[in-house]
Structure formats: C-alpha cells, structure tokens
Symmetry: C2
Subunit: 233 residues, 2 copies
C-alpha cells in the first residue's frame, strides 16, 4: 500500500465533517425548523420538502449556511400556504445566526495529524460553502497555521479540482485529497488521477451520498479516522 503514496507531496483536506463537526449542526437546525412548523406538517415530510427546496435553490444560492437559511424561510412560507407568523420567520433567522456563530468543534485527532503531516507535506484546505463562513471557521479552529493555502470552491467537481491544482502548480499525481464525502472529496480526485483517502463522518447530507456500486474501492483508501493517515504515508 505504501508504494502508492510515494509521489505525494501535497495533501488537501476537506473542512466540514473532515476537520470539524458540521453536518450535525445542520441536522439539529432541521429538527428545530420542523418543530417550528409542526402545526402544518409531520417532521418527516418537512425534512423531505426542505431538502427538495435546498436542491431547487442550489443553482441560485450555492452551498453554505446563508442559502440554507433562505431555503428554510421559503419552505416555511410554502408549507404554511403563506400563513406562517412573522415570529416564526424571526426564529428561522435566529436558527441561522446561531449556526453561523457556533464554535468550531475539531474532530478527534485532527490537530495532531495536521501537525505531524505538515512537517513532511504541503497542506491545503479545499472546501465549499459560504466564503466568509468557511474563513471564519478556519480562523476559529486554530488550524490556519498548518495550511499553505485555503480554497473555498463554489463546487467540488473534477473540473474545479483541476483548475485549483493547475492554479497552485500542483500535478494531479502528487496530490492526495482527504475528506468525508465520496461524491465531493474522493470520486472527482480519482477521476483526475490524484489519490484520495475517504474518512466517513457518521452523518452525510443526502445530496452528498452516492450509490456504493458506482465506485471501485481499489481506487481510494477508506480509513476510520484521520489519525490513521500517517500509517500509509
């Protein structure tokens, strides 16, 4: 296995749910949202409809917490047939602000792993979401010092990674990406000839899931924790 990684000299890390907890807060926000609208629909149905609304709005708002808040507001109007109260809308805005102000909770072993890897490799962050929100989380995380470059991408398809690597003058074959999303952090990298290590998080947003048989597991490595990366490098 070691042989595979001999060429690597730059390691990219996804941020949300790879370096710190994120999806958990979205799930909690969705639950709060469903509770606010309990008079109009069942929590399950609200969840499904909110997801559809987010996907519908994705081309417009992109990834990140601001688009999520706007979709919750729109969903509340729609589900209630425009009868929802102003104070409920206010509470939805507050859910969003609370998410933005949340402290950053690092995943287990992250800081040690970065400290160690940064001695031998150039480390970068490649994340999607709201620009300011991601920059702020990195600032709060205390991890900025380990990274040579931070890139917030509007999407994480093969073409986006290709542009990023070419811009940073990194050859795909010397690049290893580490992340929790098969769809966004792993498959596009395999496609462009980079290496990838998948570290699943216990919660995955529906939009980020892919059918398991669409990928061959020999193309990338799956690990339980970021602590195990150094064993393979």
């Amino acid at each position: 296995m070691n042989a595979n990684y001999n060429n690597i000299n730059v390691i990219g890390f996804d941020a949300d749910d790879t370096l710190w907890v994120n999806e958990t807060y979205f799930r909690a926000a969705e639950q709060e949202f469903a509770k606010l609208l309990t008079q109009f629909e069942t929590p399950n149905k609200i969840d499904q409809e909110l997801y559809k609304m987010e996907i519908k709005n994705l081309p417009l708002y992109g990834y990140g917490v601001k688009g999520f808040i706007l979709s919750m507001v729109e969903m509340a109007l729609k589900l209630s047939n425009n009868t929802v109260s102003s104070s409920t809308i206010e509470k939805i805005l507050d859910i969003g602000k609370t998410m933005i102000n949340k402290s950053v909770e690092l995943l287990d072993g992250v800081e040690d792993a970065l400290k160690q890897l940064s001695k031998k490799y150039k480390l970068i962050v490649a994340t999607k979401g709201d620009l300011l929100d991601q920059e702020r989380k990195l600032e709060k995380s205390g991890l900025l010092k380990y990274f040579h470059h931070i890139e917030v991408l509007s999407d994480k398809k093969a073409i986006n990674y290709k542009k990023l690597l070419s811009h940073l003058d990194i050859k795909p074959e010397v690049f290893l990406m580490v992340g929790n999303s098969l769809k966004s952090d792993i498959l596009p990298l395999v496609e462009i000839g980079s290496k990838a290590i998948h570290i699943p998080f216990h919660t995955t947003w529906q939009h980020e899931t892919v059918s398991e048989n669409s990928v061959s597991t020999s193309d990338y490595l799956t690990l339980k924790t970021i602590k195990d990366i150094s064993r393979y490098l």
Copy 2:
C-alpha cells in the same frame, strides 16, 4: 505620468460597478423593498434602517446578495413589529432571486479595454461578494477569457490584497488595481505600495464611501472611463 506605470505587469480589476452594472440593481431592489413596506414607514427611513441592518449583519453574512436578502427579511420583521404578511416576505425573496438572475450589463468600453490590455499585461479579477454569484456573473459576462485568475475575497483590506499578491507571486510594485471604490479598490493598494486607478461609478454604496480629505490624490489616478487606461500605460 507614464513613468509611474513602467514596472506594471499585472492589472487587477474590481468587478461590480467596474466591469458591469451592480449598485444600480441594489438601489432598485431597495426601492422595491421600501414600496412593500410603505404602510410601516417612509421610504427614506426604510432605506436608512435597511442600511443599518446590513452593516450590523456584515460580520455575520459578509458581502453579497444573499446577506442582503436576509437583511431585508429581518428588516421587514423589525419595521412591522412582526406584523408583516407572509406574502410580503415571499416578495422579498423574489426581489433577491431576480437580482441573482439578472443578466450582466457590461460598462461602456470594458471589453475593448480588456482585449487590448490582455495583450501586454496579465489581468486578474479581485472582487468581493458571494462566491457563486460572482463566478456566475463572470461566466455570463463573456469576459473570463481575458483573465488569468479570478479571486473572490471576503473583504478588500490591505491584508487581503497582500495575501492575494503573495499567493499569486506578484510583487506589490508591479501590480496596478482598477476599481470604482476608493475604500476597497484604491486606498488599500496605495497602502501596500501598488498602483491604483480609480474609475468612479455614478452610484456608490454608502458603506464604500470615504471622506475625500482622507486621501491624497497624488497617490492614484482618477479616470472617467476604463477606455482611458491605455493612455497611461
């Protein structure tokens, strides 16, 4: 005057109100917004209050259209003392979506100027706002082919420009920035030892204005139109 620009080999352009119309659409949106809330306050007061709300939310939401929509929603709730109707909130979301979907209207002479300058200089875009929104506008503008690099910044202070130039391996003294905002496109560049050309747009967002006596006009050049840049280079 020419001597000043002999060292320049990279030119940075602001995007909104430098390459294309933007502030005009925000002003129109604010007018529509005021019309929706006419039963609660005078248009003038609504304008002032919305501006205060945007500034209050800036540290949270950052620059760009999504934060603007969220601030309009919050303002509607506040101004109406939580009595605003759901259909008004719906109309506010629509104002935002219309802004996002607006076609891009290039300012006079932009394409010719870029075509000509790109033959001799490396051109980049340095803009702030929502990541996806700015990328989409560049795509729609048809101008992407003239630029070597696009950077969407969460803010445009001296430190942000310093980081950008260092990341792109550009020395401050060979960099010229062109933009409509003294505060964001000109003064920070003068501060870091780059050159700057100010091309005012007829409308400036209050937040971007600076008192004229805080700057010495010998530090940068002011031109009426982007067409005039080549005369000085």
